[in-house]
C-alpha cells in the first residue's frame, strides 16, 4: 500500500468521488424529505431507486429499441437523437420512480397512518390473493387471475378495517418498509427481464474526455451528472421554498397536527413529498445507468444504505444537508479506499459518520426541513 498514491491520484479520486457523491445526494433527498415530513426512515426508498434504473433500462431497450451492442461496438447516438433519448429516459426514470414511491406510500405506509384508502385496500387485497394463488399454481397468468378474483371481495373487507385506522407505532412503519422493499426487489428478480448477473444498459453516450483537471479526466457523463444533479436539487429547493405546496411541506414538517387544523391537506402533502423524493431517485437512477451502464434487482440495497448515511451525515430532514452529506461521503470513500485499500471502503464511510455524529449529533448542517432556506 503506497501512501503517496492519494497525492498522485488525488484529482482523479476527487472527480469520481464527486460524481458518486452527487448520486448519493439525489437518492438521499428522498430519505431526507420523507424523514422531515413523517419522521420515518423510508427503508423502501432504495427500491424506488432500483425500480427507476429498470425504468431506464426498459425505456432504452424496449421503447427506443437500442441493442446492447451494434456490431461489437457500443450503440452510440449523436446530436439531437442522443439528447432526445437522454431526456426521455430521464423523464421515464423519474416517472417510474415517482409512481413507485407513491405506490409504496399507499400500500405500506398510509394504512399504518390510519388513513388507508381504496387504492391501498385493493393493492393489499391483490397481493394477498397473489400469495394465496401460489399455493395452487406456479403459472403467473393463472396467479394473476386468481389474485384479481380474490382482490374484489377482500378489498371491501380491508377497507372496512382501514375505516377505523389508528396510528401505528413507528417501528411498524420500518418493518412494513422492509417488507415492501424485499418484495419489490424479489419481484424484479423473478418477473423482471431475463435474469443474468447484471443487466447491462445500452451505452448511447460516448464517454469522451471533455477536459483534464490537474491530470484528472473529466468525462462528458460526469459533467452531465454534475449539471443535472445541481439543477434538480435547485429546482427542488425552489419548489419547497417558493410554492404553496412547498410551504405545505414545510408546515407539515414542523407540526403535522397544527397544519391539519390550519387547513393544510396533510395527505396531499405527504403524497407530493413521496413523489418528489421518488422523482429525485429516478433522476439519480438515470444518471447512475449513464455512468455505470448497469442495474440489478439488488442494486438498491447498498446504495440505499449509503444514501441514508449521506442524509444523516448532512443532517437528516435537511435538503442542503443531503447534498453536502452525499458529496462528503463520496469523496471520503474514494480517498479512504486509496489510502487503506478498497476493501475498507464501507468501514471508512461509517467511521466518518460516527466521527461527525460525535461532534455534531444531528449531522453537519443539523436537521430541519421546516427551516430550509435557499
Amino acid at each position: 500500500m503506497s501512501n503517496w498514491l492519494i497525492y498522485r491520484t488525488f484529482w482523479d479520486l476527487t472527480v469520481s468521488g464527486l460524481v458518486l457523491g452527487l448520486i448519493y445526494a439525489l437518492v438521499a433527498l428522498g430519505y431526507t424529505m420523507v424523514y422531515g415530513v413523517l419522521r420515518l426512515i423510508n427503508f423502501a426508498h432504495s427500491e424506488v431507486f432500483m425500480v427507476g434504473t429498470f425504468g431506464v433500462l426498459v425505456s432504452l431497450t424496449k421503447v427506443f429499441g437500442i441493442p446492447l451492442f451494434e456490431g461489437g461496438q457500443y450503440p452510440f447516438r449523436t446530436g439531437f437523437v442522443l439528447v432526445g433519448i437522454l431526456l426521455a429516459s430521464l423523464l421515464i426514470g423519474m416517472f417510474v420512480s415517482g409512481v413507485g414511491a407513491i405506490a409504496i406510500e399507499r400500500i405500506a405506509y398510509r394504512p399504518l397512518r390510519g388513513a388507508g384508502d381504496v387504492y391501498g385496500a385493493v393493492a393489499l387485497a391483490f397481493i394477498t390473493g397473489l400469495i394465496l394463488s401460489f399455493i395452487f399454481s406456479s403459472d403467473i397468468g393463472l396467479n394473476l387471475i386468481i389474485a384479481a378474483v380474490v382482490a374484489g371481495p377482500l378489498s371491501i373487507l380491508y377497507l372496512r378495517i382501514f375505516k377505523r385506522g389508528r396510528q401505528a407505532p413507528r417501528l411498524a412503519f420500518l418493518i412494513s418498509a422492509i417488507g415492501v422493499s424485499m418484495a419489490l426487489a424479489e419481484a424484479v428478480a423473478i418477473w423482471g427481464p431475463d435474469e443474468r448477473v447484471v443487466y447491462q444498459t445500452p451505452r448511447i453516450l460516448e464517454k469522451k474526455v471533455l477536459f483534464t483537471f490537474f491530470g484528472a479526466h473529466v468525462r462528458i457523463d460526469y459533467v452531465i451528472v454534475a449539471v443535472g444533479a445541481v439543477l434538480m436539487m435547485t429546482s427542488l429547493l425552489l419548489f419547497v421554498n417558493r410554492t404553496r405546496l412547498g410551504r405545505g411541506i414545510r408546515a407539515v414538517a414542523q407540526d403535522a397536527e397544527t397544519s391539519r387544523i390550519l387547513g393544510v391537506n396533510v395527505d396531499l402533502v405527504i403524497l407530493v413529498t413521496f413523489l418528489l423524493g421518488g422523482a429525485m431517485a429516478g433522476g439519480a437512477a438515470m444518471m447512475f445507468t449513464l455512468v455505470y451502464d448497469q442495474t440489478r434487482f439488488n442494486i438498491g440495497f447498498l446504495l440505499g444504505v449509503k444514501s441514508f448515511t449521506a442524509a444523516v451525515l448532512g443532517g437528516i430532514g435537511n435538503i442542503r444537508g443531503a447534498l453536502l452529506g452525499g458529496v462528503v461521503l463520496g469523496l471520503a470513500e474514494n480517498y479512504g479506499s486509496a489510502v487503506f485499500g478498497g476493501q475498507w471502503k464501507d468501514v471508512i464511510a461509517f467511521i466518518v459518520l460516527l466521527v461527525v455524529l460525535m461532534f455534531r449529533p444531528t449531522g453537519i448542517l443539523g436537521e430541519s426541513l421546516a427551516k430550509a432556506r435557499v
Binding site: 498514491l5 498522485r8 491520484t9 482523479d12 479520486l13 469520481s16 468521488g17 458518486l20 446492447l68 451492442f69 461489437g72 461496438q73 457500443y74 394477498t128 400469495i131 394465496l132 399455493i135 395452487f136 406456479s138 377482500l154 373487507l157 380491508y158 372496512r160 378495517i161 377505523r164 428478480a189 435474469e195 443474468r196 448477473v197 447484471v198 447491462q200 464517454k207 474526455v209 479526466h217 468525462r219 447512475f288 455505470y292 451502464d293 448497469q294 439488488n298 442494486i299 440495497f301 447498498l302 446504495l303 470513500e333 474514494n334 479506499s337 486509496a338 485499500g341 478498497g342 476493501q343 471502503k345 464501507d346
Partner: protein
C-alpha cells in the same frame, strides 16, 4: 361491530396461513423427471439468493445429464432432487440432513460453494454419502481428510500458479496489477497469483462486489499503469471492472480466472471492453455434442460450471448404470472411477481432487467470443 371486522381479518389471515401450509405439500417437485424412479441424485446449490445466477448453470448441467440418461434408460430412471442453500453455510447443515434422510439419494452433486461445503461435508462424511463438486475450488477442502469429497476441477492452488506462469512466461509484462473481490474464491485465487508472480506485482486492491463504482481501484491501476491486470472474482464484477478500466483509459491486458469464463455473462455483456481479455480455466469447453444439446434444451450457450456439473452428474449416472445400488457402493466406485468426461479424463486422487485437474486452459476473447488459445501444465 369494530371488533368483529378485526377478528374476521385475523381469521382470514389465519386461514391464509393454514391454507398455505395445506396446499404446499401438493405442489409439484421442481424436477422434470418421472416420479417413479427408485434411485435419485441430490444437487446442493444456490438456487435463490444473490448467487442464484451462478447456481442456474449448475442445475442446467446436471439436469441435462440426468435427462439424457433417463431418455437412454427408460426402465432404470434416476431423479434429480434439488436442494437450495442460497450458498449460505447456515442453511447447509439442514439441507445436508435432508439429503441424508432421503434414502433414495445415492450421491450428491455439489455443494456449489466452498463455504457451504465446509458446513455440509462433515455430515456427508459421517453418513458415507459420496459427493462430487464441479465448482467449489477452495484450495483447502481436499486437506480435511473427507473420504466422500470429490472435485472434478482444479483448485485455486493449481489455477493460481498456472495463471501466474502464463502471465510471466507468455505475456512477459513489465509489471502486474492485481484486484480481487474480497470473496473466498476471488481473494484466494488473487493471493496465489500474487505470490507466484512475486516481485512483478506493482499494485493491488480489493473491491466490494456489491458496489457499482470501482473508481478507487481504477485510479490505483491507472496510476501504477501495469501491463497486465489480474482480477480474481466472478463475471458480473469482471464486466463492470473491465468497462470502468477501459473508460478510464487503462490499456493493460486483463486476465481472469475460471469464474469469468462465461460467454453470455462476460464476453457478451462487456462487449468492446472484454476484447483481448485472457481467461484461464481448469476446464475445457465441453464437447460439441454437449454444447448443441445444451443449446437445444436451454436456448443459450452453456454458462460457468455448466459442463462441470454435467460431468459430475454423469460420474454418478455411470456408477449407477454399472450396478451400484447403495451409497456405500457408489462411494466405493468413486474411488476407482476412471472414465472420459467432456471436460477431462475423470479419475480422483486420494485426496478427492481429480488427477487430471492439473492442466489449466487459456482462453482469449477474440471478436466477442471466448476462444481457446493454449494449455498451461
Amino acid at each position: 361491530m369494530k371488533k368483529f371486522w378485526k377478528l374476521a381479518a385475523t381469521a382470514a389471515a389465519a386461514s391464509l396461513i393454514v391454507a398455505a401450509c395445506g396446499g404446499s405439500d401438493s405442489a409439484s417437485d421442481t424436477t422434470s423427471a418421472p416420479k417413479d424412479c427408485a434411485v435419485s441424485l441430490g444437487l446442493q446449490f444456490p438456487e435463490t439468493g444473490d448467487a442464484a445466477n451462478l447456481g442456474a448453470p449448475m442445475l442446467k448441467g446436471a439436469q441435462l445429464a440426468v435427462d439424457e440418461y433417463n431418455a437412454a434408460n427408460p426402465d432404470a430412471c434416476v431423479t434429480l432432487k434439488t436442494f437450495d442453500t442460497q450458498g449460505d453455510p447456515a442453511k447447509a447443515p439442514g439441507v445436508a440432513a435432508a439429503v441424508i434422510a432421503d434414502k433414495s439419494i445415492l450421491g450428491l452433486i455439489g455443494p456449489g460453494f466452498s463455504g457451504e461445503s465446509k458446513a455440509a461435508l462433515p455430515a456427508y462424511e459421517a453418513a458415507g454419502l459420496g459427493t462430487v463438486t464441479g465448482s467449489a475450488t477452495n484450495a483447502e477442502l481436499q486437506l480435511n481428510g473427507w473420504k466422500v469429497f470429490h472435485r472434478i476441477l482444479g483448485n485455486d492452488s493449481v489455477q493460481g500458479p498456472a495463471i501466474a506462469k502464463y502471465i510471466v512466461e507468455t505475456l512477459k509484462p513489465a509489471s502486474v496489477g492485481i484486484i480481487d473481490d474480497a470473496s473466498e474464491y476471488g481473494k484466494g485465487l488473487a493471493d496465489t497469483v500474487k505470490k507466484a508472480v512475486g516481485a512483478g506485482v506493482k499494485a493491488s486492491d480489493s473491491i466490494d462486489p456489491k458496489a457499482a463504482d470501482f473508481s478507487a481501484a481504477v485510479s490505483k491501476m491507472k496510476d501504477a499503469n501495469p501491463a497486465v491486470i489480474f482480477y480474481g472474482g466472478y463475471y458480473g464484477e469482471a464486466v463492470k471492472l473491465s468497462k470502468q478500466l477501459r473508460d478510464a483509459g487503462v490499456k493493460a491486458t486483463l486476465v481472469f480466472g475460471d469464474g469469468v469464463k462465461d460467454q453470455a455473462g462476460y464476453a457478451d455483456a462487456a462487449g468492446p471492453a472484454a476484447e483481448g481479455a485472457i481467461i484461464a480455466c481448469p476446464c475445457k469447453d465441453g464437447s460439441a455434442d454437449f454444447i448443441s444439446a445444451w443449446q437445444a434444451k436451454y436456448k443459450e450457450v452453456p454458462g460457468t460450471y455448466g459442463a462441470e456439473y454435467y460431468d459430475a452428474a454423469n460420474v454418478f449416472l455411470n456408477i449407477i448404470k454399472a450396478g451400484a445400488k447403495d451409497r456405500a457402493a457408489v462411494q466405493a466406485a468413486l474411488g476407482t472411477y476412471d472414465a472420459a468426461g467432456i471436460t477431462k479424463q475423470i479419475k480422483f486422487g486420494a485426496n478427492g481432487d481429480a488427477t487430471e485437474a492439473a492442466t489449466v486452459y487459456i482462453y482469449k476473447v477474440t471478436g466477442g467470443k471466448i476462444t481457446y488459445v493454449a494449455d498451461v501444465k
